[in-house]
Symmetry: C2
Subunit: 298 residues, 2 copies
């Protein structure tokens, strides 16, 4: 490890593992309902960064948590993330035609299939976690399920998406956007490290450190995403950019400016890293990953 | 007990209990995302028959299963049923404006809110089951979750909805419709009795009897629903009827005729009751309920 090429390789390896796991976990396309599975696969097996799974797996590795449990939990988390993208891309929501460098589900299939494929992926996430294949102890499985339902539900990700929809016509300030981010994207990023702590049987002090870390990281990631939207290259990113600008929506960059946003990312990155101090050199990979995922060009 | 008025009262009592439970379990409307909770409440607290909860609670009562566990599981099941109605009513799906005697969620709010409210209810179902409030034994909770995810997912309810969408433009035969029914509505009805068996720690023989019962009941209920669609009174039912006729979709009534469909319902009802023989007089209420729910005028 150490240099950037090695790190990128590691990120790619994790992403591939998650894709293989999802391929095995999503039912094969068969029967008259086969298009449903095809649509679920189209969305979930596409070339995603798998950032949430990456943080789950690398945090879990610090605790020497069982890899199979981590991988299945990461796959469940990615099912939730993917379903949210499928529904978010619908014409009645963000109305996006491209995602991860390919047509969105409602473009490649149709709207009804996109609604159902999202529903199917959301349900599959809980099925994966409930299975005895994930962990031998049902108490661990049920805790992973309860926390995922919290992170993904009306007081978590879905609530954040609701704020995002509502705010399209009204002016947004930094408080509203920060709250929206904490729910819409922050909750699932926090789940990644929290789930790893549950699986790895982390102590309270460690769980608190992970919560602080993922909180700062999640916010930094969103600001980096807004920077990418404002300054990135559409072809490299694989989805339309300047979307907030076009929709006249305020985001961290419109409110803080490009330089202000960059400075905020650096500050949050430093803060995120400080939380990891208690893990000493076991946190090396997580520390490296902070700069890497925040230095976004795609 | 015994006469129809008493029975109707009992059905109403169960429905009210479930509505009260849902009212407590769905987060209150607050924060900028308040419309999300309002939409979830609009859908879930409306005047539904609560047929699935009824079968869950009455089956559980046969085993003297703990009422709180039954009620929370019934509420979770109703969250799943309700979310499926909210998504099914969307313009890109069945495009229905009325449901349970009131405007559908996308009419009362908007489409984006309906998508998110459905997602929120689906996620809430698993949160309810995962909570230690539902049952002290995590192994029971996780089994309830796994079976619900099976019944509701791509190889269950969502798969059935997919077949329903696909078949709009192609001719349907009895086999396709029976398969679609088994997934789309049968899976959740079967879950009602299966979950009660899990909570009540039913023996294998009893679980098999419940599976046979709910399988016949579910199919009979769908045929009765198609009869209602073909012959019912729109005002009493509270939603548009003749929908299949208008869409030119085959259903059990168009394929079997009104008399043939009625005969099939009677046959299945008798078969359903036979499965309950092993429970002797403990099954009295379930036996009564069969005729009652199949004699549908609303």
């Amino acid at each position: 490890m150490g240099d950037e090429a090695d790190f990128e390789l590691r990120l790619k390896e994790v992403a591939d593992k998650v894709t293989v796991a999802l391929d095995q976990l999503i039912p094969p396309a068969s029967g008259p309902e086969a298009d449903l599975m095809r649509a679920m696969r189209h969305a979930a097996l596409a070339n995603g960064k798998r950032m949430r799974p990456f943080f789950l797996l690398e945090t879990g590795a610090m605790f020497e948590a069982p890899e199979k449990t981590l991988l299945r939990t990461a796959a469940a988390l990615e099912c939730i993330h993917t379903y949210s993208l499928v529904h978010d891309d619908l014409p009645c929501m963000d109305n996006d035609d491209f995602r991860r460098g390919q047509p969105t589900v409602h473009k490649a299939f149709n709207e009804a299939t996109a609604v159902l494929a999202g529903d199917g992926l959301l349900t599959l996430a809980f099925k994966i976690l409930a299975s005895s294949e994930t962990h031998e102890d049902p108490a661990v499985r049920v805790m992973l399920i309860e926390r995922l339902a919290d992170a993904a539900g009306a007081r978590g990700m879905v609530g954040g998406q609701m704020i995002d929809m509502l705010e399209e016509d009204s002016p947004r300030d930094l408080n509203t956007i920060t709250r929206m981010q904490r729910l819409k994207t922050g909750a699932l990023i926090s789940y990644a490290t929290e789930a790893a702590g549950i699986i790895g049987r982390a102590r309270e002090l460690e769980r608190n450190a992970l919560a602080g870390f993922s909180n700062d990281l999640g916010l930094a990631y969103q600001i980096a995403d807004d920077l990418l939207d404002a300054t990135g290259d559409e072809t490299a990113v694989g989805k339309p950019l300047r979307t907030d600008e076009i929709a006249g929506k305020a985001n961290f960059v419109t409110l803080l400016g490009v330089d202000g946003a960059r400075q905020r990312v650096r500050l949050l990155a430093a803060q995120a890293k400080e939380h990891l101090a208690i893990f000493r050199n076991k946190a090396d990979i997580l520390l490296q990953s902070v700069d890497f995922v925040l230095d976004r060009t795609r």
